[in-house]
């Protein structure tokens, strides 16, 4: 085990190296690019025994990933923003064909207007594709979650692909200390992928990616829903196993000072770091406030959220995305499933810095009941 200062992109590449993928089809895009560069270097240096597939677009990258995974090997890919948009069609194929590979998404805003900076609109727009989505808060969590994502996805009860979502620039281009585990404990935690439902073997020919007429399609989709429901337990189990070997604890959600909180912030990704500091500052002033960090967005961990927020009065949900005409995606999901007074806040779109002042504003507004159900934070007046 070594500790080094590195970006979350490097941490993800290190996780991919440790997971020993056999095929890596990837196409570069800001702010994911350095992931693809590190992996190309690792393959060239024979640190990973994988086929690095150079492709001409993200549509090809994800198509190659699905094809490779269907042969029964472990696959890694990564993208961002418009790249993920171009993958959209095949994301559904990957989930429907039950190819359990891992994609790291460097969260970035969507055009137009063109913007390369961070928000979470790109992955949120893929929420119905049948992928697991886990949002991470720092570089260490990006590394750890990438390793866990393989174990979760490859679990026979799940067999759905996973998206590890890390905030562009705020994580991808920020250096901070990261612990890189040794290969041996990783191998113990994550043995080689042994595909039992779809693989390439001339002695056992099979046909994958077939047409299914109305007699079968409904059942195939229902099976995916069941797999997604199963994944709740599998994610928790995998986090527990990870903690046993590596000592770092994760879950579906991460509550912080929620037990006696009257108001709880609900958010995903790197923003949770700053909120935690603000929670401490508000607590020092006697405010009863907490944070619920949502790690697993799909599956949506309703029971875990319910448990964490059971004692509070109000929820302040901050979204770095917008579902036009209704509000932030996390806010609308919370509204649909959690029976608490919840208020939505849209912030940080296209890289707008979310400052402590912005978070204080969310708190004050929630405390005094906002005028609107969904409030945009940091809008310029003129």
């Amino acid at each position: 085990m070594i500790r080094e200062v590195m970006t979350a992109n490097k941490a993800v590449a290190e996780a991919a190296r440790l997971a020993k993928p056999q095929v890596i089809p990837v196409y570069p895009i800001t702010p994911q690019t350095t992931i693809s560069e590190y992996l190309a270097q690792y393959v060239a240096d024979e640190k990973i025994d994988a086929k690095y597939v150079k492709v001409e677009s993200e549509h090809s990258a994800i198509s190659a990933a699905v094809g490779a995974s269907a042969t029964g090997v472990r696959v890694f890919t990564a993208t961002s923003s418009q790249g993920l948009m171009l993958m959209h069609e095949i994301l559904f194929a990957a989930a429907g064909m039950r190819t359990p590979f891992v994609l790291a998404d460097a969260n970035r805003a969507i055009s137009a207007p063109l913007n390369i900076w961070n928000d979470q609109q790109d992955s949120i727009a893929q929420r119905d594709a049948g992928w697991l989505q886990i949002y991470v808060e720092n570089a260490q969590e990006a590394l750890d979650t990438t390793l866990m994502a393989y174990k979760i996805s490859e679990n026979p009860k799940v067999l759905l692909p996973s998206m590890v979502c890390l905030d562009g620039f705020i994580l991808t281009h920020t250096v901070e200390p990261v612990e890189i585990p040794d290969q041996e404990p990783v191998d113990e935690f994550l043995p080689p992928y042994k595909a039992e439902h779809a693989f390439l073997d001339p002695k056992n020919p099979m046909s994958i990616g077939n047409l299914a007429d109305p007699d079968y399609y409904l059942e195939a989709r229902h099976d995916m829903q069941v797999a997604m429901e199963n994944s709740i337990e599998v994610i928790q189990q995998t986090c527990d196993e990870f903690a046993e070997i590596f000592g770092r604890k994760y879950g579906l959600v991460e509550p912080y000072k929620t037990e006696d909180a009257e108001i709880i912030f609900v958010a995903m990704g790197s923003l949770c770091s700053t909120i935690r500091v603000i929670v401490d500052q508000l607590r020092e002033k006697g405010e009863k406030v907490g944070l619920l960090k949502i790690r697993a967005y799909r599956p949506f961990p309703v029971e875990a959220i319910d448990e964490a927020v059971k004692n509070c009065d109000k929820l302040a949900v901050i979204d770095k995305n917008v579902t036009f005409g209704i509000g932030g995606a996390l806010y609308t999901d919370i509204k649909a499933k959690i029976h608490k007074d919840a208020y939505g806040f849209i912030a940080g779109l296209g890289g707008r810095d979310i400052t402590p002042e912005a978070i204080f504003e969310v708190y004050e507004k929630t405390k005094n009941v906002p005028e609107k159900e969904v409030t945009w934070i940091g809008l310029k007046e003129d």
Partner: protein, 173 residues
Amino acid sequence: MIEIRFHGRGGQGSVTAAEILAKAAFKDGKYVQAFPFFGVERRGAPVMAFTRIDDEPIELRYQIYNPDYVLVLDDGLLNVVDVFSGIKDNTEVIINTQDFEGSGEHVVHSIDATGIALDLLGRNIVNTIILGYFAKKTQLVSIESLIEVIKETFPGKIGELNAEATKKAYEMG
């Protein structure tokens, strides 16, 4: 927590400087964080980079608006961006310049990093040099760790030359 803001131009190595400083402080046993803010990703355009150093794990993830230190890699930027933006009474500003004189309102240190760079490196790359001066002035990071990280970042002859230039700036601090 110590917060440092770098001002430079795309291609001048401000982001690398912020990372080198973080890595050196990490070697000294500190918790660190460094990140860029890119306006536009173009050579010559003004860029900012940030470093945070603390004894505790760092959980703040937003830009630095009220820095303890400001490092300006190019005095031409003084006419383009407000490098003094948000500074506190005790904020110290280090500027690579040959002729800038502080207004007296702020603690401003001048170093002719460009002179050292042209002398020792043969080109106007000042990011490591200004860190040497910073290390001496502030004692926030050891020169040993700084030199070590510079050599790791730039292997071979370039690293040796940068290390030499950084030491020279350290002695001037």
